[in-house]
Symmetry: C2
């Protein structure tokens, strides 16, 4: 294993400390809860939005904390759901009188932690709602999931509800918006290589020298099938076809198109994928209204990528275009 | 080689087409010059700023094109300087009556192409200046370089002169600012793995299972020495020490701190490096005024990272903080 790591057991804590120090004016770190929170949270003016999930998917979700997106993110260890108690204490710490929205990628462990925490919070009279994200069209059930998995499309749900919350939307309205965006969003990914968790020190699964995993999950879970490495354009078509057919996205639609790198794939290759995806959509009469290319939801050092489409309407497009100031930044 | 690529010979052209389509409102692509330009360039109101270099360093420099940074970038093929003729034609196409500033990372091939182009342009009466960037403290001369190499610190020069040009600075003023930023900037990098150019199909160099290259160049050129993989904090100290000693940066200084990923290193690991770099600077009495963590100047799929410091003063800090709207974007 060749990684920048000290004690693998301290990997998540050190990463979170680094994130907080790199964003001293925006974010704070609460070590005992594994929590990254907005420096100014909670705000009495807005519903509190919290996301949890395993670590190892950075920038998801700890770097999506900030104005216009999340109030807090309480990750678990690498590829592990946060403990129920972290979710519960995070929500208590950051709760606003306007309520708390919990965003959860659909994995069994995460669902359990968040549903139990939500029950406890509700029993204390806190107005809490939970919203599950399940944009991955690859498989119906999987290693850690009943139902579809939540993957990179999650970014769009966070962005939309975050913008609406900033504008003063109430909890019911945020749930309505989040469900609308989730229902308009579909993703599929391909792995070229496995990933290596720091504490394991060896690859999570194996792929042959020219073998790829089509429909891979963001924890390296199996997808639809293994196949041979093909030219980039063919792989884009292979990802886009089930995505397009699922909603379905149709001629005349306007979409957001995301090419998401899974961690080990360089940016140049992502734009080669983008080129074909954009061309393929245009051939289908679908207009790309917004584009996103880069790393949004990764799987440690996995080489690979996913394609996400979001069907846009005026409401969703305005929320996606709204300003945000988070740990996700370049300048 | 497991990469998202079609015909390796078409890799750069397809990437540039993807970049232009993903930024239709900001950027345009001129295939015959391998050029990415601002959609609205040239502007009569500002000096034109152009950067070239080899491809394979994305987001540098093609994604740094846009308002507040570059007017155009004319990359060569992967790790190859742009042809002199591309530089010349790019400058003629994008020139403004206020002049043209050519930014060049210090490599022999790039210097030759840009210096010859600048001579031709000057002979035609175009007001052109050339500014060389050489922030890498690792080695004095190297495989492709006489003098020091230009690496990730380049971002800060582009950002500063881009902001000043937007504010109306003239060509002399931009050269002064660019030289000041370059002279305040130092970088050092470490490779954990080699990189694989698409057209070569195999790694450019070899490293043993626990071997690293300390002071690596962004084309995989040798650095100071090879060593054993060490804990992340030790590697940060190993990079920071020669950087700190070189300017030198001293107690009481205020700096921008960049942890730049070289292409294959996941974001989480970059924040582990950031944590130690921030702590180490604080121990030295140096204040981190601005922080940058992510991929700014890569070496294809190389796993590795570099550390850059910029000594800030009011002028530099204001220019770095100015708004920009380029292909470097998340939302």
């Amino acid at each position: 294993m060749k990684k920048f790591v000290n004690d693998p057991k301290a990997f998540v804590a050190e990463m979170l400390q680094g994130i907080a120090w790199a964003n001293e004016d925006r974010l704070r770190y609460v070590p005992e809860l594994n929590l990254i929170a907005r420096a100014d949270a909670p705000s009495a003016d807005k519903v509190t939005i919290i996301q949890g999930s395993g670590s190892g998917h950075e920038p998801a979700h700890v770097l999506a904390v900030g104005r216009g997106m999340l109030d807090g993110a309480c990750p678990g260890d690498v590829f592990a759901a946060p403990p129920m108690n972290s979710v519960y204490e995070t929500a208590r710490l950051l709760r606003s009188d306007r309520g708390v929205l919990l965003l959860v990628n659909n994995y069994t462990g995460d669902r359990m932690a968040f549903e139990m925490a939500a029950e406890l919070l509700a029993a204390e009279g806190i107005d809490v709602r939970t919203l599950f994200i399940d944009d991955d069209v690859s498989v119906q059930d999987s290693t850690y999931t009943v139902g579809r998995r939540g993957v990179a499309g999650n970014f769009f749900v966070i962005k939309a509800v975050g913008a609406a919350a900033e504008d003063g939307a109430d909890l019911d309205e945020l749930v309505r918006i989040g469900e609308r965006v989730n229902s308009a969003t579909r993703t599929m990914g391909i792995a070229l290589t496995p990933c290596t968790p720091p504490a394991k020190g060896s690859p999570l699964f194996e792929l042959g020298p020219d073998e790829i995993e089509i429909g891979v999950g963001i924890h390296g879970e199996p997808g639809r099938r293994r196949g041979k490495l093909l030219p980039a354009d063919d792989l884009v078509d292979e990802m886009l076809e089930p995505v397009l057919a699922d909603l379905p996205y149709q001629a005349g639609d306007r979409v957001a198109l995301m090419i998401n790198g899974l961690g080990g794939t360089p940016i140049g290759e992502l734009y080669v994928l983008y080129r074909r995806a954009h061309e393929r959509l245009r051939e289908s009469g679908i207009d790309v209204g917004r584009s996103y290319v880069g790393e949004y939801c990764t799987s440690l050092d996995m080489a690979g990528a996913s394609v996400t489409l979001v069907r846009l309407d005026d409401e969703i497009e305005q929320l996606l275009a709204a300003p945000a100031d988070t740990g996700l930044r370049i300048f």
